[in-house]
Amino acid sequence: MKLKKNVAVSEAGLLFNPVTGESFSVNPIGTEILNLLREEKSDAEIEKEILSMYSTDKTSFEKDYHDFIGELSHHNLLEGHEKTKA
């Protein structure tokens, strides 16, 4: 899973897609996940990192992570998850 290179993520958690002009705000954990995606960490590495920092269980994380990735994909923010036709 890779965040598109041109997507900007601010420290405050504002995500800007320069192709569509859309902006999204994410919470601090969302920002951390985005930064990990930016570092091209794998799903397993992200899970390990988040579980080590926050008191949450694996099942809850997986569900929330899956939803979050789904949202990013829905908004065309991930590499290889284009909705746009070639």
């Binding site: 800007f16 192709v19 569509t20 002009g21 909705k83 746009t84």
Partner: protein, 348 residues
Amino acid sequence: MKKPKLNIGVTGLNAIDSPGPGVSVIRALREAASFDTKIIGFSYESLEPGIYMHDLVDRTYSIPYPTAGTDTLLERLEYIQEKEKLDVIIPNFDAELYPFIKLETKLKAMGIHMFLPTLHQFEERHKVNLNDFGKKYGIKVPKSKVLYDLSTVHSLLSEFSFPMIVKGKFYDASIAYSIEQVKTYFNKISAKWGLPIIIQEFIHGTEFNVTGLGDGKGKTIAAVPMRKQYITDKGKAWGGISIADEKMLEMTRKFLRNTKWRGGFELELMKNKDGDLYLLEINPRLPAWIYLAVGVGQNIPEALVNLAMGQTVKPFTEYSVGKMFVRYSWDMIVDREEFEQISIYGEL
């Protein structure tokens, strides 16, 4: 090196809720790096706000509406030229472009330069001809049909589904959800802007605009795409952000390459959920949000003036992405004498 001083006439001083581009164009000209300028405003009505913006507009003259004909306009421009020695005029309304294009040669002989589309380009891109335009240049456009009267209105049902857009030939558009609404909007819009009325397929999606400048030989001198972020009830952008959509830029370059467009323009685009881009309209002049282009590094009005003056203009190759414009309204306090001056004498 001393910068030349150019006297530039600008229309579209109506910085109202559905704003003309004049005031934004003037702001851009005031910031031009290659010339200094004296701005002569051209107004149609006495309450156009630009008339009273004395830090932007040096002097204003009222000019006749396009319906008065080119002879009347020429007579007025001859009078203004005697006093102001204009170098360039930038017309900013669709409706006045036809007379200005017609007068281009005569104005040139008077020393006034313009950089406008040719009459052929102006007619070809007209929304009445959009279907043919799309076919000819391989650009996706929504299906549209021209209506001159309401006798054939029911035949629309076999060609279009609801909602459909009812558009005026110059301005105005409404979304109709029933034949009754089509009839209402037909009457309302044609009463204001005349016939024909254009019926257009409704494309669900997100609206984008591109403004730019073509050199008349197929080259793109400038192009800046923008996503509308705040849209008024009249469909005007009250806030927007510059974006980097290569598909939009390529469509713009294709439009300029194929049509050899001369002058400023605005493309109105719709992107549907599959990412397909539809060209809804080509406005043959600079848009009211043109100052965003200046803000992101492309002073398009300055480049247009230089092209009009016969200078070689280097194409812009970049702009800042993610810069926003946020429009606002502002109450000016105006002396009644100024209003009287422009209303009675047509000059201020």
